[in-house]
Symmetry: C2
Subunit: 331 residues, 2 copies
């Protein structure tokens, strides 16, 4: 899967920015790739791009209608189908972050064939995947890991990439989840592939490269999460990371959705992830901490950062609120 | 998937017992379930069951033709198709351990429908799977783990089950790989499911049970294997094991197919598996070591067992060559 820009971001009936997280992510991290937004009348959100009808977007050269909105359940509601069909008729590829496959829409496969457009489901990966080999490969790789799910691994990875690119560093963001894949325009949805291939998929996603090149691999799950640690473990081994950045939400009371599970300490999280990563790269090092301090005041955030630095001896920051330069300096 | 016995074991063109490992496994561990074997003329193997034509098998009440043979690549060769079609025509379900799905054989889905029979692919799981919850559940569970892949986890689990059943213990073998699934007649092929569901699948496979009941869960892969550790990690968390039995092949020079990867020591393997398992069951204990001493003389095997006991302080045995009573005594 490799999306073709420019995109038109479809916002559906989104009521808030959380509903439109993929569109928000693209406007934040890949602003050059989207030239407009299109929403249904009841939508209450904008990502700040020019509002554009489908015909206008086509006439301005839009190549892909990117569904930038989510809903509970991840299904494609009937109210979107007319938009999707019309975009196809106008020659646009469709990119879809939902659980429902585009191909499940009645008649859409034939319509796409007639108009010579591609249908991309970001939560599906149908290309061949290899079994992991664990073979040492050239280039450097950084992986974000976390104390829990949804603590800011994708945003931290993208913030590191943005800052490194600004400094002229040769690096690539490697997306492993559906939102990251739509932001980057390519990637492998690591939690949606067959379990035997987790490590091999990451070896394919972040292959051998120039010695001066750095892959920034989006982490998933957590070694400390009872549902998703398998995915995380395979991702760590396949990444063969040189550097780990640990992501953490200091305001979280327990593991996500699991009141019976405490969050690990930062130092325990570092120790476990380093130990796992040493299997495929004995020289791996933890180089920094990214905190998600969204729920805190600035004073509280700075306190949390100072505390994390005292606990771990590593540079810490909130990659959205503050700069990631401290962590990049540790590379 | 729940196979119906009695089975007729199909041996294809097997040249040796390794080719026929599923049939050998059934004749070893579930001798009551198969009443005959059927092979193509060029086959050079028998598992010691009465040789039986398809019509004879049908007249004796066979319910399932079980493909008990494997080949390199895991495909269904053309030479088997006539046998499979005829068995369907005679009213038998088909059970298939190969990578190729039965449904890929031209016309077979309609033929199965016409004759009202079921097609089982042991490497595929199509039922709904839940996300893991990590919730404490009743009953006891034992999981086999290993220093590497293919060190005897399935045979060790089955040997423990056999001995426990002989002693009247209320226990169930829970199969997680295609061979184990065909031996047991049910299970979930944990390496063939979507990675997000590994732990949840094991929670479904080995659900809450009576306090006096013991599930014996077949392990997969190894936390020390760079390709498969993700599967193993999810299996450990989903199993919520009370007991771990560590499986090891003392004659193996390096990790399977990976000359650059050394095997872990038994004590390191125990420590890592216990640490992982403590996430969902803080009371987990390693209770014994199962060695695969197939390549050794009896004297060497006894020496290896004594060495493993000295190293770990746990009872050790070869579950095929000797008894597993020492380990059961530790339960």
């Amino acid at each position: 899967m490799q999306l073709t820009s420019p995109y038109l971001l479809f916002l559906g009936s989104a009521k808030n920015r959380a509903d439109a997280k993929t569109a928000v992510g693209i406007s934040e991290w890949r602003p050059d790739k989207a030239i407009g937004e299109y929403a249904l009348p009841e939508c209450e959100v904008s990502v700040g791009l020019p509002k554009m009808g489908l015909e206008e977007a086509a006439s301005k050269g839009v190549k892909t209608l990117l569904i930038g909105v989510a809903n509970s359940g991840g299904y494609i509601p009937d109210s979107w189908i007319e938009t999707i069909r019309k975009a196809i008729t106008l020659g646009m590829d469709i990119a879809n972050p939902m659980h429902t496959r585009l191909q499940a829409i009645h008649g859409i496969v034939d319509l796409a064939k007639t108009h010579g457009v591609a249908l991309f489901n970001a939560r599906e990966y149908t290309d061949h995947l290899p079994i992991g080999t664990g073979k040492k490969r050239s280039g450097k790789r950084l992986l974000t890991v976390g104390t829990d799910c949804s603590v800011g691994k994708m945003y931290s990875t993208l913030a590191l990439e943005k800052s490194l690119k600004t400094k002229g560093k040769n690096c690539t963001f490697r997306a492993t989840g559906q939102t990251g894949i739509l932001i980057e325009g390519s990637g492998i949805p690591i939690d949606a592939i067959i379990s035997d291939f987790i490590a091999g998929a990451v070896e394919k996603l972040a292959p051998a490269n120039d010695d001066s090149h750095l892959d920034l691999i989006e982490g998933q799950g957590s070694l400390h999460h009872p549902a998703y640690a398998g995915v995380t473990m395979g991702l760590i081994h396949g990444s063969q990371p040189d550097y780990l950045v640990i992501c953490h939400d200091p305001s979280r009371p327990h593991m996500r959705h699991l009141p019976d599970y405490e969050l690990p300490s930062l130092s325990d999280c570092i120790r476990r992830n380093i130990e796992a990563a040493q299997l495929t790269n004995p020289n791996v090092a933890a180089i920094g901490i990214c905190l998600n301090t969204f729920a805190m005041t600035e004073v509280e955030a700075l306190e949390a950062i100072a505390k994390a630095e005292r606990e771990t001896g590593l540079p810490a920051t909130d990659p959205i609120r503050f700069s990631v330069d401290k962590i990049i300096a540790a590379l």
